[in-house]
Amino acid sequence: MVSSPMWRWTLLVLFLLYLGVAFSSIDLNFPRMLDGLTRGWRFVDGFLNPNFTSRWSDIQTGIIESLTMSVTATLVGILFSIPIGMGAASNISTKPFYFLCRFFITISRSMQEIIVAIFLVALFGFGAFAGFLTLTFATIGFLGKLLAEEIENIDKAPLEALKATGASWLQMIHYSIVPQITPRVVGLWLYRFDINFRESAVIGIVGAGGIGATLNTAIERYEYDSAGAILLMIIFIVFLCEYTSGYVRKWLI
């Protein structure tokens, strides 16, 4: 890449120097690391021996809260993503509406869930409501964008044909676009549900309720065996979602 050998060597030396400085700035504290290692081991040990029983009622509440949060956020998100996705599809939208919807989608997609959650927790207090709003906001952006893309990629011929029959705009959408995009879009909805469930565990850590909050409490109390049980539950439920959504998609095609 760099043609002159002198430059190449200078660059290499500079790079090594930088590495050296960078490493020396890391404050290595070996006793602290050893300490961490034993704690890390307790962590692993906790996961290998998950304890479902001692905190079962907390886990149960957390899971139910997370599921409620994901289901409602997914449903409300779908509801709003439909008009926004349609507005953001250049082939069926009008200019001002198109830009408005694209703008909203960009905002929603550029904001990380955790940041939105921190903000909404500050606004609405700890608990599942902030979590629900966070996930809904993210879902609208995510599904809106993908819906718009699906609509933009349809076969336009039937749309033209229906326009020529004197069908209204809604009828054209319903008869020519909906059948073309349904299988993939429903697949995306299910996929978003399992993202929302996983996300609910993460945003719970910053106070947005759900199983994430339970997980956070367990870790803070050094109850790694309960934390292990919670993680296993999350994995199990995500796995279940994966399996069902695959099944539903096959059935839809």
Binding site: D155, K156, L162, T165
Partner: protein, 273 residues
């Protein structure tokens, strides 16, 4: 009766696609619109139902002037104009019957169509049209399970379901084999005669056009260069329409003419109703 008066169309930043085109189509007359790719055939028929807005001129369908209509009145008039397409333009994932019924959308409310509650008389008629095109036993099949010829028959039934006063047909046989092409052209002709329906058929295949239409209009670079009976279509007329070089060549070259890139209309379609 359809009447085109001094119809012109200019796309942005390009030459005239239609240049002062005028002609009348009496009831029951089937017109074959021929001409090389890019002559403006598709533009012409799409100007009639205003899938493309004409730049200039007037179009009368019976006594209604189409170019001046507001969107809601245009929608009512579009119901009277059936359209049939080269690639069938069916909704592949809907059933044959649903595709036929989609021709009646202009006559039913959104909620009726949403819940598939089509009025009984419309349903009966739709079955009648399916029978007419010979597909009654396929009514519940999904459209993507049909052959090309069968799909085009569904396209014809859908157009008939509109109870049209005019048929606009864009290259109905360009994607079909020669035998099926003849069957489709014969069917279209018979249907037009039965119902005294006027039709404009864009068509590449001159021989096919001569066999099945009442009158031929030759279009070249947006202008009418021939208008007469199929029997008057001799070699010199064909040379006028298609140009000497392209006309007097082997079939291989003819194919080149037909696969020349045709611009994509739909990208430009505004969806205002």
């Amino acid at each position: 009766m359809l009447s085109l008066q001094q119809l012109s169309k200019q796309y942005k930043n390009s030459e005239l696609a239609l240049d002062n085109v005028s002609f009348d189509v009496p009831s029951g007359q089937v017109i074959g619109l021929i001409g090389p790719s890019g002559a403006g055939k598709s533009t012409l028929i799409r100007c009639i139902n205003r899938l493309i807005e004409p730049t200039h001129g007037a179009i009368y369908l019976d006594d209604v002037e189409l170019t001046q209509l507001s969107t809601s009145k245009l929608r009512k008039q579009r119901r009277r104009i059936g359209m049939i397409f080269q690639e069938y333009a069916l909704v592949e994932r809907l059933s044959v019957m649903e595709n036929v019924l989609s021709g009646t959308l202009g006559y039913v409310s959104f909620w009726q169509s949403f819940f598939r509650k089509f009025p009984e008389p419309l349903l009966q008629k739709a079955f009648g049209y399916l029978e007419r095109v010979g597909l009654l036993e396929h009514a519940n099949k999904r459209a993507d399970q049909l052959s090309g010829g069968q799909k085009q028959r569904v396209g014809i039934a859908r157009a008939l379901a509109q109870e049209p006063s005019l048929l606009l047909i864009d290259e109905p046989t360009a994607s079909l084999d020669p035998k099926t092409s003849r069957q489709i052209m014969r069917l279209i002709k018979e249907i037009c005669k039965e119902r005294n329906l006027p039709a404009i058929i864009n068509i590449h295949d001159v021989v096919l056009a001569q066999t099945y239409v009442d009158r031929i209009i030759g279009l070249k670079a947006g202008k009418i260069v021939f208008d007469g009976s199929p029997s008057a279509l001799n070699a010199s007329v064909l040379t006028t329409i298609y140009g000497k070089e392209e006309w007097n060549t082997t079939p291989a070259c003819e194919e080149e003419v037909s696969i020349a890139p045709v611009p994509n209309f739909q990208t430009k379609l505004e969806l205002a109703i």
